[in-house]
Symmetry: C2
Subunit: 132 residues, 2 copies
């Protein structure tokens, strides 16, 4: 699989774990050998795998776990690091996210996620070659 597609696949796995409230799958998509951080909307930054996974446990198990879908994901691959920018579609509106991945033992794993409020995405997507 081309790396660009492999990164988008890992990004999809993250949102699938999120949407299905699957904590084990969420644990699987986060890096184990590289320090991780996470910034949920309106939260301060979380540092370290324990703090990040505790936050996901609380979010996925909570009564207000969101219905979420990813749209317009665009990936940049820079060696063993990749960055995905995408919209998150929720019942309440739209967020925009930065997801950073590292290649660990041949697999792309998340090392950072930040999501924040955004207007609805424009219907016409950017040409894909601007993000190659």
């Amino acid at each position: 699989m081309p790396e660009h597609a492999a990164v988008l696949f890992a990004n999809d796995a993250f949102y699938l774990a999120f949407a299905s409230r699957d904590l084990a799958a969420m644990d699987e998509v986060w890096a184990r050998e590289t320090p991780v951080t996470c910034i949920h909307p309106g939260w301060g930054p979380l540092t370290g795998r324990d703090a990040v996974m505790e936050s996901w446990q609380a979010i996925l198990a909570g009564p207000s776990a969101p219905n979420i879908a990813c749209q317009n994901a665009e990936a940049r691959v820079l060696g063993d690091i990749a960055c995905v920018i995408c919209h998150e579609v929720l019942d309440q509106g739209f967020l925009v996210a930065t997801n950073i991945f590292v290649r660990e033992r041949g697999q792309w794993k998340i090392i950072h996620h930040q999501a924040g409020a955004a207007p609805p995405p424009e219907t016409e997507a950017e040409p894909p070659d601007t993000m190659q």
Copy 2:
């Protein structure tokens, strides 16, 4: 200069350009050889150097250009890519930012910035060894 310090120096240069409303300095801190993206608070993602610099021109020249300072910056260096997470202190409150840097011709340049609303930072910082 150790790379970790060099990345934080580049991050400081970004905020100095922002705070001093210096468009030429802002242009200087952004990468030229790597595709760039930017997500201002409440905006959709901007893709490409032209769109990103146009946004900074509008922000820095506008009547509501914010007073801004960076706090609690923590850097991760992963080869030729680095990620800084920091708080942004404004008159109106706090933001938290993800800034991604690439090493271009020996200099760290920004390739992505996302800032979003955050609560005030905790007074006690995380131990620095969690971010090495």
